[in-house]
């Protein structure tokens, strides 16, 4: 529902003025999504897996997380896809913790960390803000998620 609150707020002239936005009088309302772009989207990469391989080889820190109550790009979708990277396991599968509760499960591979977030939908930080923040802190710190 929060999407509709954004549509109200960002279409206010005083908000646009404060944000230095819409200075050229765009001929349509501010919307959260552009249906026009979605409808006419051109090139799309069928699989990102080759790009992941290239980026892992470059030594980037890569974390992939998944809220486990999303059915649009669900956790099994991500796991099926990542499985085809044939990654080497560095730290085997374990539950990670946030505030004395299981925050989800995680596995650390060579070059990539995967983590689920328990009880979170598609927008993980919206549905589980504390767990999402914990995940972000671990990512930034370059640390595995806490085991207790």
């Amino acid at each position: 529902c929060t999407e509709s609150y954004a549509e109200r707020y960002y279409n206010r002239r005083d908000v646009q003025g404060a944000m230095h936005a819409n200075t050229t009088a765009i001929p349509y309302k501010w919307t959260a999504c552009s249906d026009m772009l979605l409808k006419h989207w051109g090139d799309t990469q069928f699989s990102m897996l080759p790009t992941y391989k290239e980026l892992m080889a470059a030594g980037l820190r890569i974390w992939v997380f998944s809220g486990d109550t999303d059915s649009v790009v669900p956790v099994t979708a991500t796991r099926f896809s990542l499985n085809h990277l044939h990654l080497t396991i560095k730290i085997p599968w374990y539950p990670w913790y946030s505030g004395r509760e299981v925050g989800g499960w995680t596995e650390v591979y060579e070059g990539l960390t995967f983590a689920t977030v328990r009880g979170a939908g598609h927008e993980v930080p919206l549905f589980q803000p504390k767990r999402g923040f914990r995940l972000f802190k671990s990512f930034l710190g370059g640390n595995a998620l806490p085991k207790s």
Partner: protein, 260 residues
Amino acid sequence: TEQQARDRITALPGQPTVAFAQFSGYVTVNEQHGRALFYWLTEAATDAGRKPLLLWLNGGPGCSSIAYGASEEIGPFRINKTGSSLFLNKYSWNREANILFLESPAGVGFSYTNTSSDLRTSGDERTAEDALVFLVRWMQRFPQYRYRDFYISGESYAGHYVPQLAEKILNYNKGFSKPFINLKGFLVGNAVTDNHYDMVGTVTYWWTHSMISDRTYRSILSHCNFTATKNSPPCQRAIDYAMNHEFGDIDQYSIYTPAC
């Protein structure tokens, strides 16, 4: 810089008092077509000068707007029901990093193009190119973020935007002995990764979470191979049946949450 000063947000309407600085405005990414991308930077609440920079992108395609990451998820402010005021997000990621939100590509949110055909010709490649140009030019405007540890994050179709931009940055950086875009890594959530495996995994999720019947599960598996960009008509009919007759009135983005 002068432009940086012009982009500073004094206060947003209905905003509570905060200690961090905010900036927003436009960066032109293509002069010929008149494409300009809108950004919103919310600096870290403490020690902003030392904390890393995180660029957040959302999904769609066509939905990487400030409605999601900034206003629903990791940004410092949430919007109240009437759109009249803002309140603080206790778990804002700007407790740990400077957060840069980008409305991308042109045509999303406040980002615009002066060439209307751009709205019908967008795709992965141009989105990544424009995002790189944005970043290079934005760092000219905000030189304090050059050489700073830099990360990219996002969700959903940002599973394309984020690694594609990372790849562009790596290629761009090859021209520098000490690159000023100091990309360290990225994290993506519920990210579109591989059309085939994603769809097989999605249908599996629907079945294992009892969202669809055994019969529909078998029907989808027998009619869909998920190897083409577009589903065949029998495959699409099987999926439509699941969505229209078996899912029920749920929020597909969070299956145990009441629908809006």
